[in-house]
């Protein structure tokens, strides 16, 4: 039993009566990578905090690795590893001391703690810096150490709250590789929150989109994208409302049955056989005197799913990442270390 389940999980903050999480149901199977996708303030972190026993739910129930988060918080903590959004480290300790202390607090003996700390420092590529105080670490090094600290007791479930926020593309790719490897090699269930579509798309077996405290869509990335059932034609029009209104009116006869959305100066048309329709779209716009800056057609992305459900794009996008890379996760994590040590302290 290494899964996560929630029924009607709700959190209402007393101050201001904000309903941060509003009756969500979850069923994350053992061994899955599950991504919780949503904007800042959508309820992702509050959900993680309830599932990891840091916050008591207002109502509803949840189980992690089969343990009720309210009734058996100690068992939940023993089963779960957690890396929160804010990397919480003690700057006066060294990486080795921090990992050893963490391991011992999880009940490992002194010898076991020492061995496990050494092992994890090698995995996250921090061996050479293991005995330096954390106050001198860069953001990327801190993030990697935080991930190692979450794994020190070999958890069955790993919660990662925005694990790559603030990381450069190389470090982000390394973290992704490592998450995949512990999921595949050790069967760890991974619950990650993210506001990066690419992260959810590339890592997750299943994605839930959370919007204003509610899960508004859930499924595999492919299933969610297929749910749009069409290509996406994006017509870039700029912010002139009259041009947008004219374009919508002109294209309505052409795409009567198609769904349309306007966001960020674009008109989005969800149509079948989009490529075939593009020339006619251009001609119709030309006819009413609207000159689009660009017209593109693409297969739907998770962003299109998000846009369709919430009415707007996810605001935050990470810098584009390099390709998958052929080397294993350990090699990649090490490779990502050097530039950070040079530049990013």
């Amino acid at each position: 039993m290494g899964g996560i389940r929630a029924e009607g999980l709700t959190k209402v903050y007393r101050r201001g009566g904000v309903r941060a999480v509003d009756g969500i149901d979850l069923d994350v199977r053992e061994g899955q990578i599950f991504a919780f996708l949503g904007e800042n303030g959508s309820g992702k972190t509050t959900t993680v905090r309830m599932l990891t026993t840091l916050l008591r739910p207002t109502s509803g129930r949840a189980w992690v690795a089969g343990f009720d988060v309210v009734e058996r918080p100690g068992d939940v903590r023993r089963a779960a590893g957690v890396a929160l959004q804010e990397v919480g480290l003690d700057d006066l300790q060294t990486a080795r001391e921090l990992l050893e202390l963490q391991a011992r607090l999880f009940g490992l003996s002194r010898g076991e703690a020492r061995r496990r700390a050494g092992e994890l420092l090698a995995v996250v590529g921090l061996e050479a810096d293991a005995d330096r105080r954390l106050g001198t670490y860069s953001g990327g090094m801190r993030r990697r150490l935080d991930l190692a600290a979450a794994l020190v007791h070999r958890p069955r479930v790993l919660f990662l709250d925005e694990p790559t926020t603030g990381l450069d593309p190389g470090s982000r790719e390394s973290v992704w590789q490592y998450i995949r490897s512990i999921n595949r090699e050790e069967g760890v269930t991974v619950f990650l929150t993210t506001q990066y579509l690419e992260e959810a798309d590339r890592l997750a077996d299943e994605v839930a989109i959370i919007h204003r405290g509610r899960i508004v869509a859930q499924g595999s990335p492919e299933a969610l994208k297929s749910s749009i059932g069409a290509d996406v034609i994006a017509v870039e029009l700029g912010e002139d409302p009259s041009a947008i209104a004219l374009a919508v009116e002109a294209l309505t006869p052409l795409t009567a049955a198609a769904e349309k959305r306007v966001a960020d100066g674009h008109l989005y048309l969800y149509v079948r056989e989009g490529a075939r329709l593009v020339p006619r779209v251009v001609v119709e716009l030309e006819r009413v005197g609207v000159r689009p800056r660009a017209v593109t057609v693409a297969r739907p992305t998770l962003d299109d799913v998000f846009l369709r459900i919430t009415g707007h794009h996810l605001a935050v996008q990470p810098p584009s990442t390099a390709g998958d890379g052929a080397a294993g996760p350990r090699a990649n994590l090490r490779a990502a270390k050097s530039p950070e040590r040079e530049g990013d302290r």
Binding site: V87, D90, Q93
Partner: protein, 250 residues
Amino acid sequence: MNTLRATWLLTIRALREIVRQPVNEVGNLVIPLFFFAVTVGAVGRVAERAFGVENFTGFQMPVAVLNAAASGTAGLAITQDVVSGYFEKLLLTPAPRFAVVFGRVTADSVKAAVLAALIAGIGLLVGTGFAAGPLGFLLLVGMAGAFGFVFSAFGVAFGLRTGSPQAAQLSFLLFFPLLFLSPAFAPKEVFAPWLSFAATINPVTYVLEGMRSLVLEGWDGGALLRAFGAIAGIGGFTLSLTAWALRSRG
């Protein structure tokens, strides 16, 4: 993970931090010694005539010890952990919640005992004497450690409740009125009635008199019992406050 083992591990971590910031502790030693020297220098010569205290240096040394013992930084350190997020990392382990606090407070207690030993040692060098002998010296050090433990919990409660380093330091500011409302600089017998009443209901009075009895009189069971009773009373209050504040942190 039992509370004792977790407390031990977290005490070691907190002591390591104290050792790694030695400059902070220099102030905690020097300031009480400075006030000790200045008070003895200003009043020492007239103390016997003014209020019948023969050994004013010995009379003042426990004030410096208490002053140092109240300089715990557990509250400040815990708020720094809260702000950095490390406190939550500790809460995510199976370590009992109270151990996370006890680790810091115990480190303050050890620090208070070390500072007390140094101050009392310096006191001996400048002629305070020690009526209760070496065992009494050790008891005074232990008493300072115990006072450091319970008083430090005050700052922890403030810090946990507010998450503010400034609030955590309020405990040290609170110590000064308590010290001034005790017979710190003159015996209670010469106080105005209102001040004498305030000193009577002030637990710091009894801790101070217990320590003073070891330096000036020898073994006074009643004074020592009252001192430990006062420490237990302060502890009952500050630790309850800490437990209440800890609940607000999940």
